[in-house]
Symmetry: C2
Subunit: 508 residues, 2 copies
């Protein structure tokens, strides 16, 4: 624990068990680390992801053996794709107990391997400090990695531990001058060019510089559909997200002959389709990599602006302040989005996993009060509420708006309890369309015809309808159901101004 | 799907996604396979386990990529330890799409490996039928195994599939005559002997024969703490479960000089402890293996009875019918157990994950109406409600009683929705002590003193209290809170006689 403190770790998201009791006792004596309990490990790992995105540094998790780790893996998958730092600490049986193959024995390293970049097991007390320091270094190596340290119970309870020395963190390097020069040449070529930003090029100094580059060169700024964090709203550089739907993405990208990547991958569809290409880029579009994910992406865009002689006084392509009017009448996706765009408080953090129901959100919040937006990066549903927990823990002075589809929300609904326990200022909106709408669309897109009753039973999550107000109440979160935009706006205002969490169910 | 039908598979527990759309379309055209939707994959895999325990054959699951499989892994861990058959079918990206490393790309085989005995990926349509047949064979190989078949999306959507030939299932072998003779000699040695039963020696013909052996030889019949399925109640052979707590287990076992294993492992504690042995057996207790898990355990006990000349007319050591009286007053663990013992209907299936709160259950249901009891076999919490779903699907004519601790129940509470969707006759009792009581006890047992406020925050799941009646209502399950034993008994009677699921919260 002292090594973690020395490495700047301030928060531990956890659901511990018997094999972690000595670590819990150590946490108990370490007031500088705040422990946050999740009632399911998917909440724990998703919260660690949300924390890392907003704090810019890792939290640790403390997980119980193979099964506890396994429960957290889907959101570790998302975190891995988000390229954020997380330090998982996983208890294992005492080294000499493993040979009995007891009920809770499993291959902990094997479970961790697919979702972790750095992996080690401490088998003696003397190793734990050093291994923890190595885990911190691995996690904080750019762009941010998942590190998993398994600690044998007898290592945890034996004397002989020592605080590990925290090495200097390696700073990510700027790309070679040649890459900057090539980007300058591409931007000056007179052919339509887009810049696809990721990592820390989507917020802070990187985004500011990107706005200037766009204004000066006419390049379009893009973000991948699965982005980690974007700063947006009035006054922020205008960035367009590449749509999820292939045809829409292809339509957006069709004009560009050059694509400059800043920490981003070449855009590809989530899924292959027998009749579609993997990439929505225009035929012949040339790819230029300005910076790879492990390089200093924000700094790369700044260097590019500098090479273009764009100083602090240069014009930027910023979003004008423009709050949409709040419509009236029955709730709808666009009405909800407009109300959010109007009412979003200054400096909010918005977490978006509204899936098909929230596709209008970006349009209506373009000119809203400046805010951060966090998205699902790995496509494993059930991230929104855990991510909101982590963001709220990282940013106690900011309001968090959590937008979740009902199908996704059911995956990790236990997060509502943690919001209540920790008194987090999170307003959760559940878009209850009572179906996995994306699957109905995909079924049709594969030419499989109309789903019959047995297939519909797997796409529709009604019969019975989920009642999210009751679910929230069951976990101590006050909730309300909004049937009209007026009711929604009223509940949203209330959520943004009251203390602690709240939930609004919108039946679409 | 036709190969699955040919292999006797009748049920598919699932939460599919885009990469499984062609399999959903195939399910849609296969009325002989019943699909049951879970709103989280821990429900799906736990239900497949419960189904297998009661049906004596595998269901299949249909899971979405690596993350869907990962979400189901904790209950696959339990199923692996239960040695039940399950066939997981997991969709993966099209073979040619994997190289793009898209958001949902992961190492599906790597995720499956720690929890599966048989693992293969079908990469062409022509392979799927054969691979499915091999998966069925692997799953149904004694004692029951987990088989995972990954199917690439392009294999699923291409023509050229063929129904796989289902090979004859290998029958488990009886142990060698020598092992039977040794057991006869041990039982005749005049020294105190116990027989530790597992697998199918705990129900059906194996258990009947065990009762005769016990009556004739004076041997004690034992079950491991983590057992898969026991037939018990009035008229069934009397079997004692080895307690979870080391001292209690050691006390039960201290008199025995010989332990005969029938499909069971040598008893070991769940966790190592610096001051305790791994096994609660008496010093010098000799271990004899009558049958290994992969052998015909029920047949082995029958052969033993035969070798002892115990025919159908031989006396048995059966539990007398004895329904405890229902006490009155405030709810308590023993009062609840007595009411259950009194009211349990004939031929019920009881699923027990009541943890510390339900430790009296076995005593009070010893002479209750004959029933099956299913337990958590791998120690990964969150199995009870999913297991109950699977048992109810396997046994539509039987009542299912699901006993869950509140902490465990929160792991997979989404199962309540499936109970409502499928109209399953399951009565769920939530023992709400609002803490992970076992952790408080373990903290003390390690000599870590009184937990301070930060540790208590991780052991106590109050602040806010969970309201299970609201949680159940949110998923369409009628619930009630019982403050007195009279109220509990009334609610239990109602649950056992009404159609569909219900829930009773008991605050201890």
């Amino acid at each position: 624990m002292r090594t973690l403190v020395a490495g700047g770790i301030e928060v531990c998201f956890t659901n511990p068990g018997t094999s972690e009791m000595h670590m819990v006792a150590a946490l108990d004596r370490t007031p500088r680390i705040r422990s946050v309990l999740g009632l399911f490990e998917g909440v724990v790992t998703g919260a660690a992801d949300g924390y890392a995105r907003m704090a810019g540094k890792p939290a640790c998790t403390l997980l119980h053996l193979g099964p506890g780790l396994a429960n957290g893996m889907a959101n570790l998958h998302n975190a891995r794709k988000a390229q954020v730092p997380i330090i998982n600490i996983v208890g294992d049986h005492a080294t000499y107990h493993l040979r009995h193959d007891g009920p809770l024995t499993s291959d902990v390293e094997g479970i961790a391997r697919p979702m972790t970049r750095w992996l080690r097991t401490s088998r003696a007390a003397s190793e734990i400090g050093r291994d923890t320091a190595d885990a911190i270094l691995a996690a904080r190596t750019a762009p941010g990695q998942i590190a998993t340290l398994v600690i044998a119970a007898d290592a945890a309870w034996s004397p002989g531990g020592a605080v590990g020395a925290i090495p200097a963190l390696p700073r990510p390097l700027l790309p070679a001058t040649e890459m900057i020069e090539r980007a300058v040449a591409t931007l000056g070529s007179g052919t339509p060019t887009a810049i696809l930003l990721a990592g820390d090029a989507l917020f802070g100094r990187g985004l500011v510089a990107a706005g200037r580059v766009a204004a000066a060169t006419g390049a379009k700024l893009l973000a991948p559909y699965p982005f980690t964090r974007i700063e947006r709203g009035a006054g922020r550089a205008s960035v367009e997200r590449i749509p999820y739907v292939f045809e829409q993405a292809a339509d957006l990208l069709k004009e560009f002959r050059h694509l400059i990547l800043v920490g981003a991958q070449v855009p590809v569809t989530y899924f292959a389709h027998p009749d579609k290409k993997a990439s929505p880029l225009a035929e012949g579009c040339e790819i230029h990599t300005l910076a790879s994910p492990a390089e200093d992406c924000g700094g790369a865009v700044e260097s590019l602006a500098e090479a273009l002689s764009l100083g602090a006084a240069a014009a930027t392509r910023a979003e004008p302040s423009e709050r949409p009017a709040i419509p009236t009448g029955v709730v709808s996706g666009s009405g909800i989005a407009a109300a959010i765009g109007n009412l979003l408080p200054e400096n909010a953090v918005v977490v978006d996993e509204s899936m098909t129901s929230g596709r209008n959100l970006l349009t209506f919040t373009r000119g809203a009060a400046p805010h951060d937006l966090l998205a699902n990066t790995g496509g494993s549903i059930g991230i929104a509420m855990p991510l909101a927990v982590g963001a709220a823990v990282a940013c106690p002075d900011r309001r968090v708006l959590c937008l979740s589809a009902d199908g996704s929300g059911m995956y990790t609904l236990q997060a509502l309890w943690t919001m209540a326990r920790a008194g987090l200022n999170i307003t959760t909106v559940i878009f209850a369309n009572r179906e996995y709408a994306v699957l109905k669309r995909e079924f049709a897109s594969f030419g499989l015809g109309d789903p019959g009753p047995r297939a519909r039973d797997l796409f529709e999550i009604d019969r019975p309808d989920l009642d999210w107000v009751s679910l929230a109440k069951g976990m101590g979160v006050p909730g309300t159901r909004a049937a009209s935009i007026e009711e929604f706006a009223e509940a949203l205002r209330e959520g943004f101004t009251s203390e602690g969490p709240s939930l609004i169910e919108v039946r679409l």
